[in-house]
């Protein structure tokens, strides 16, 4: 009887060690514990996260960028190609900076701050309930195969840990291609 109990105890001990190893193996890493929460939305749909709401209205591909007559002349020449995305965006609870990134093939490209501030969204401050519509420009390499789809990542604030990131998949095969694309200043409105 005593021998049986000892054998059962040893078996239980081994099982506990195996279970502890299993828990250790499946435990999320610190990066996973703090990862942003991706909220997938379709192009043209209005999507909501914790402190961010947005839609991607249009996308275009351009060899050069320029600005309209209302602002100081500027011309954006690149060794690559421009992906320009029209976005309407607002925050939900707090104001703060907007963060825009493009998943292009296996690259994560931040929105370019080369265009003048008055014609792009990269440096705007978000405001709760007041939507801003404008263009974001992403400069991508020309010497790599162009993917059929890319994803626009839209977030409120620079620190996205444990916060929502809207991820909008955009079809590049139907995007209009321009030699020169004109960026217009963003506009604001309250969405009804």
């Amino acid at each position: 009887m005593r021998r049986t109990c000892s054998a059962l105890g040893a078996l239980l001990g081994v099982l506990l060690i195996v279970a502890a190893w299993g828990v250790h193996e499946i435990a999320p890493t610190p990066e996973m514990q703090e990862a942003p929460v991706a909220v997938p939305i379709a192009e043209g749909d209005w999507g909501s996260g914790r402190n961010i709401e947005a839609t991607v209205a249009d996308v275009a591909i351009a060899q050069q960028l320029t600005v309209g007559d209302a602002v100081e002349p500027w011309r954006g020449v690149t060794n690559g190609v421009w992906i320009v995305v029209q976005i309407e965006v607002q925050s939900v609870h707090r104001d703060g900076p907007l963060t825009l990134e493009l998943e292009y093939a296996d690259l994560l490209v931040p929105a370019s701050d080369r265009p003048p501030n008055s014609v792009h969204l990269a440096n705007i401050a978000l405001s709760p309930g007041i939507a801003t519509t404008g263009w974001a420009a992403f400069e991508v390499p020309v010497d790599m195969p162009r993917p059929d789809t890319v994803a626009v990542r839209i977030a409120a604030g620079a620190d996205q840990r444990l916060d929502s990131v809207l991820v909008v998949t955009v079809d590049l095969t139907t995007a209009h291609e321009w030699d020169v694309f004109v960026l217009e200043p963003p506009t604001e409105r309250v969405r009804l």
Partner: protein, 208 residues
Amino acid sequence: MSGPELPAGAPPPPPAGHRTPQVPADDSRDARGARSWLWRQRWWLLALVVVIPAVVLAALGPRWWEYRQNTDGDLLFTQIGQPVDYAGALWRLDEVVILDRSDAEAGGVTVPSGAELVVAVVDVTPAASGSSLCTLEFVDPAQDRRWRNEWNRVDLAGTADAASGCEEERVGQYRFVVSWIVPAGVGASGQIELSVLDAEPLRIRFVP
């Protein structure tokens, strides 16, 4: 001489002169008088009852405290027009004016379609050592929204000499103007929250 007959299956009586050991009535013993497993392991189980909450508390307590510090400020509510002593200074939200889009643009501030401009006038009597920088946010408690003030200045009657926002190391009473662009209809029901870094997490909430 034979004793009385026993029923079939009953244990035989003890021999004469033999005393049956008396087992005290005890819930921790089974029918054979052996201690139960729960009773034998009672100190380990008691230790678990203490240790598990202690480990949880030790692991999560500091982070919970940090969360509390970062999220839950203490709010002191006061009416618009009432002076309040805060961060060593005397503050009074003198006036709140809501301007629609056309009035705001007449004052030189561009307001988006569907929005309005909230303008507040604040009187401050700083501490003798001078004033501190402050933050004023417009709060919509119904939808948990808040806005930081605009930098564009709108002058109301009697505010031509007022500062644009609170100032640091200023001595003597002064007045300043702040404004916020909010969705139309929010201005009338909103509240204005004042905070000074040195006095955090205590903040002042001016209510209509």
